[in-house]
Symmetry: C2
Subunit: 471 residues, 2 copies
């Protein structure tokens, strides 16, 4: 089948008349909305910088009448190309619809437009003693609408879940141009099918979110963390699992493998490095970072327990972080990994497989052989508490890209064989759709395609994303 | 349209030959599976007591070939008639598929068959230091498959969410008889549409769940609670909201209104009753019960804070519950409400509307006028932390049933006007489907009917539930 693509010149003229200055066609605007963090460039024919839901509906009705593609977009921080105009078409930029409509402290909810930055929402909630927990790494620059469209998550998933768990209800415009409200403004609701969570995570293929009602929580009074170095990822994971089966529910449990640790180990304080085995720059084989939140006395007690447990389970070195400065120093180690990997190599493919927590050690242990077989390097780090491992597959030279891609597919197959999934956070977009049939069985794929057709009979909304082209 | 109903006598003979002793047709079995907790009786033509997923698939293939209704059922504790054979047909009793396949302490997940009692799952998890949080009132007698089909929840929702938040993945048989696996075995997963949460809460109309992979949490070390009496529900809700906006996330926040409190106030300890205003049996106008979980020091500190906050916000009497016996005594007050209401009246309709937390006081304040207008009594109690209010509408005489029903619909309309939903826990089934269009707009209803048709083209699985008959 062929997908709808760019509007004809006459249609483009019609759109310009219809939307006036909100329709952007200058090269800089098209170029800016032709990118996301996948590194790809696919400029659209035009951009509608939407100011309200009515404009969204008008654009989608025109797209159906005249069969062109509409590609919704938040801040474009996705890594899978999900918001790129692959077939041409009109990018629907939702970033200007960025009002925080209400932080309702009595109902402990927020009502926001989709273009609100997730970090801004978190700050607005905090100012009323409330907490919006999902924490994708991009939270200071990504939008809540994009977070919902991709069901974004981060380190906090282990305790708090992902975006999906906080979206109570939505207003959306369907691909047909009809406005719809789904879900509730309440924390419980069991009336009819769960269209809210069908739209959440659908990567902008089933509807355009124009408003969200979000569950908030009480804001925890504080946080405390501890980092520990172990001899290998197996030992690190035994500590992670030990913490969880002895009654602690940390708000983050992150890990770095040996290769990452060699890359950023110099950021560990000297007194921690000094206690570790190995040559300078080779400080143990796995770092674990565990954070707890709650009142000061709660977090202090929890961290003391967890530190003791880490020692009991073989930690080679402990980096306590009792105050905010030490906590920030520990997180700098974790956060610097991506940047340093990125800086260190020409070819870089970020995979984000997830496996059951109990299989993390097996997954990580299998990586050196994969890397060796393909002559590349693989860095593994991520979310030990939820099984989501960021695999950064790299090579120093562009000529090795096919080897890196082959290794990436091998890693995905390995994760699936361990009961995992090919993506814990990034989504499918266009980057992973050729691999979709590895994970999704034909009967499930048929239902999913049926849902797409039910919502979008002319396939005008973000066509070609998620699903491989039908034979 | 007419729905598929009972199998013909020839088909019934075929089923008997196909399934042998697993097909039940004796009157006692049909009568037992013709009931749920709605009080209705709708005996099926036969019952298949399924032993495995292959039998489920065979039954559904036959139902499509010969156009009879199949009605899946767990323990039958639903209050909305969702598992009753309204059009006749074959009840598919899943209660014998009740193996706990695995409690995986390394991955902090459980894999179970649908007939496992929720209480048994909770105990099995606890024995490994793990916790399955959803706590519908029926948990000792209801099945996890039924809980998933109805997205069951209870008091723990305020902190832990509902069943939906714990179902990572499912095996199901589609109405067409095809087996499918949806979701993941991991805590994060963003590949394709969320069919898991489409099946969860679909009240057995989109598929028959044959296996569930569930997220578990670390088991909290202990619990502590406090109960407080306030002058009215408004004051009680100010305390509830005050607790949540000052950093506490209790594991339960329950309330009883004045009428409930008069019914069970005698269960309060004498020293608490003595401190309260009003005549004997009239002890304040609202009771709040707040429970926290965590380590002993965490819960003790939290309860001390919360008790002080309740006093500051006008509590007339406080019932501390520092130990297990006192805690149980406090919960007895809460749990006795339903039983005493049930015992005290001939006509009894349980509604379970939910409203935003900030609207609870307004909702409860409006009830006396509704009750007076219809000449009936309305008791309100439930989950202050999530807005789900159990309204028990009662009258002493069967002749007053129409008045009770009219008042129930008025309460639903009131909840919807306050931004709420007609059901927080019970679901639609057949009890509320005539009211569905009050809450679900035509465009959403069209999509939901489209999804039903996509999954179940011949409408053989639990026909007629949730959706009102099309004109």
């Amino acid at each position: 089948m062929t997908y709808p693509g760019a509007p004809s010149p006459e249609t483009l003229a019609l759109l310009a008349a219809e939307f006036g200055p909100d329709l952007l066609t200058d090269p800089a605007s098209l170029d800016a909305r032709g990118r996301d963090d996948s590194g790809l460039l696919m400029p659209p024919a035009a951009v509608l910088l939407a100011k309200n839901a009515e404009q969204v509906a008008r654009l989608l009705r025109l797209a159906n009448a005249r069969r062109f593609a509409v590609i919704p977009r938040g801040a474009g921080t996705g890594l899978a190309g999900g918001c790129l105009a692959e077939t041409g078409g009109v990018v629907l930029d939702m970033s200007a619809m960025n009002r925080i409509i209400a932080i309702d402290a009595d109902s402990v909810t927020a009502t926001v437009e989709p273009g609100v930055l997730t970090g801004d929402l978190r700050r607005a909630a905090k100012s009323k003693g409330l907490f919006y927990p999902p924490d994708p790494a991009s939270l200071d620059v990504s939008t809540i609408g994009g977070n919902a469209a991709t069901n974004a998550g981060g380190p906090a998933c282990v305790k708090y879940g992902t975006t999906r768990d906080y979206v109570l209800g939505l207003a959306a415009v369907l691909p047909t141009g009809e406005a719809v409200r789904v879900g509730t403004a309440t924390r419980k609701g069991v009336v009819g099918y769960d269209l809210t969570r069908l739209l959440v995570g659908s990567e902008g293929t089933l509807g355009v979110i124009t408003e969200l009602t979000l569950k908030l929580l009480p804001h925890p009074a504080g946080q405390a963390c501890v980092a520990a170095v172990f001899a290998d990822v197996g030992a690190a994971m035994r500590a992670i699992i030990g913490v969880m089966t002895r009654g602690h529910l940390p708000s983050a449990m992150e890990f770095l493998d040996a290769r990452c640790l060699r890359l950023v180990g110099d950021l560990l304080p000297a007194h921690v490095r000094a206690g570790l085995p190995g040559a300078p720059g080779e400080h143990g084989e796995a770092l674990v970072l565990i954070e707890c939140d709650g009142t000061a006395s709660e977090t202090a007690a929890a961290i003391t327990d967890i530190e003791a447990l880490c020692r009991e389970l073989g930690a080679l070195g402990i980096l306590p972080a009792p105050d905010e400065a030490a906590r920030e120093a520990a997180w700098v180690v974790r956060r610097s990994v991506s940047t340093r990997i990125h800086e260190s190599c020409a070819v870089y493919i970020p995979e984000d497989i997830a496996v059951p927590i109990g299989e993390i050690a097996k997954m990580v242990a299998a990586l050196p052989a994969v890397a060796k077989r393909h002559g590349i390097a693989i860095y593994a780090f991520g979310h030990a508490g939820d099984g989501n491992i960021h695999l950064n597959l790299t090579a120093p030279d562009e000529a090795e890209r096919p080897a890196v891609e082959a290794a990436a597919e091998e890693c995905v197959r390995l994760a699936l064989a361990l009961g995992g999934t090919m993506s814990g956070e990034h989504g499918v977009g266009l980057a992973k759709r050729r691999m979709l049939p590895l994970e999704i069985a034909p009967v499930s794929l048929r239902l999913q395609r049926g849902i797409k057709k039910l919502f979008d009979p002319n396939n005008i909304l973000n066509p070609g994303k998620i699903f491989p082209e039908e034979a």
